[in-house]
Amino acid sequence: MASEKKFEPTNPTLKWVEDRLPIMGLIYSSLGAGYSAPRNLNYWWNFGVLAGFMMMVQIITGIVLAMHYVPNIELAFDSVQHIRRDVNYGWLIQAIHANGASMFFIVVYVHILRGFYFGSYKSPREILWFLGIIIYLIMMATGFMGYVLPWGQMSFWGAKVITSLFSAFDFIPFIGGGIVEWLRGGFSVGQPTLNRFYSLHYLLPFVLVGVVILHVWALHIPGSTNPLGIDAKGPYDKIPFHPYYTAKDAFGLGVFIIFFAGFVFYMPDFLGHPDNYIKANPLVTPEHIVPEWYYLPFYAILRVIPDKLMGVVAMFSSILILFAMPWLDGARIRSMQFRPLSKFFFWIFVVNGLFLGFLGQKPTTDIMMGVEALLLAQLSTAYYFGYFIVIMPLVSRMETTKPVPTSIAAAVLDANKKG
């Protein structure tokens, strides 16, 4: 099982506490020497810890920003400028929070794709995977509402477009007609909308913490997967999380913080949009409206279907389809290291996802490579869904796989001999 060693404090005070509330033992067996992890985890396994780190960074900087921010449509825009210019270290804290959202999404995207490649969603980790999707959905909602708070042009029109998405469901009896006005608290996006988004933007991160705790709990039932995708069979396949992986994670964290600091100190506005430095104006839509980069692939999917309802359904489906992955993928082997064809289609999926994101920030009427961007986006969306609905079920069941090592220890020792 996940934890072999028990926490046994020798200090009498610690022992007194531990006997009454075994909280140190809980930490010891989840992130300490009491949790043994497969001995072959590579740097792709850093990103879960990095995501946890970013969540804490966002919560801490967010609480501080809330001490200076004013959720009022007349004052919100100016209060953000006040934070950036007048508040002591406000420039730093605001830049960390604004860029931190992007960093959080970067590490989570890598973490999700790590799961794709190494089959982390496969039995017995389905619930772990579902909790991950729920975390991602909460992140999207939180990120969106946070982006509205500075009350710039992109904030306002982003809020208007996203809340309008729900008018696609107007055909539903009883709840349909007023759902958009219910979300906004008015006929347009305005003071009630800003106020409730602020309230929810403060609440949801703590809901996120709750789901993350469940995610880590579910992880510790079977333990981590590993690059080979085979189950750890005995003690020779595992090493204690502390000090081995705490050290490895700390090194990865250091490298990541350098990357993060590059944005915060040298290009704090690179990931933002200049239109958000114009105060919200309900009479003028920006000429070219785009969401934050981390939503672009889904925005591209929304736009490719000329029908409003179907566009919205396609966009939501593109994320909800992740719930079906444990069953769409019928392979008996987890890791794509031993599934060459799956690996090939996976990398096309990654490139295709980046391309969808690129298309999401282009007007659909742009001409690229001699054809309309809309057509390219349609082909790209077809691959996105085709990957899940056609390629994954068929390839995973029909592919001839490479031989899988008998144990983690055998594979590691074998590699060392060759090395």
Partner: protein
């Protein structure tokens, strides 16, 4: 045969169901205020109408007014535009067929919502393939009667209630 125990059990089952049902109703009643508080408040609903002075809008000109937080388009249409709008009444590319006469009280004054029926952006005046409005967000084209002709928007720009108070003043809402 019905024993004493059976009767007790039956009574107890009834009590379970009755308690659960009453609890469910109470929970629903407690949740409703929490849900309904998100609906537009009374002061928001009270902002019901604005008066617009039309005398400043020349023929061939459009103006935008803010009504209930959303833009309203007022266009003083030219004779050619009216002819064009009426000529398109039976056009086959009307996604949401409607005749021009049903969309105006006086043909020279087109008064309608300025909110794209796709996802709520404000369409640009005198742009697009049909000489009316064009929404820059997702490419919906509206004609000179505000009818959707091309693009993802499902319906025409809605015409709200309005009355002409006199020749140059209109009350919107």
């Amino acid at each position: 045969m019905t024993t004493h125990d059976d009767v007790v059990e039956e009574r107890r089952n009834f009590l379970y169901i009755a308690t659960t049902a009453a609890g469910a109703v109470a929970a629903g009643a407690a949740v409703w205020p929490l849900v309904d508080q998100m609906n537009p408040s009374k002061d928001v609903l009270a902002l019901s109408s604005i008066d617009v002075d039309l005398s400043a809008i020349a023929v061939g000109q459009s103006a935008v007014f803010l009504w209930r937080g959303n833009p309203v388009f007022v266009r003083h249409r030219t004779a050619e535009e009216i002819t064009e709008a009426q000529a398109d009444d039976n056009s086959e590319d009307l996604i949401d067929p409607e005749i021009d006469a049903d969309r105006v009280q006086k043909p020279e004054w087109l008064i309608m919502s300025g909110v794209c029926t796709h996802l709520g952006c404000v369409p640009l005046d005198q742009k697009g393939d049909f000489g009316g409005w064009y929404c820059p967000c997702h490419g919906s084209h509206y004609d000179i009667s505000g009818r959707i002709r091309k693009g993802p928007a499902p319906t025409n720009l809605p015409v709200m209630d309005y009355v002409f108070l006199d020749d140059t003043t209109v009350k919107i809402g």
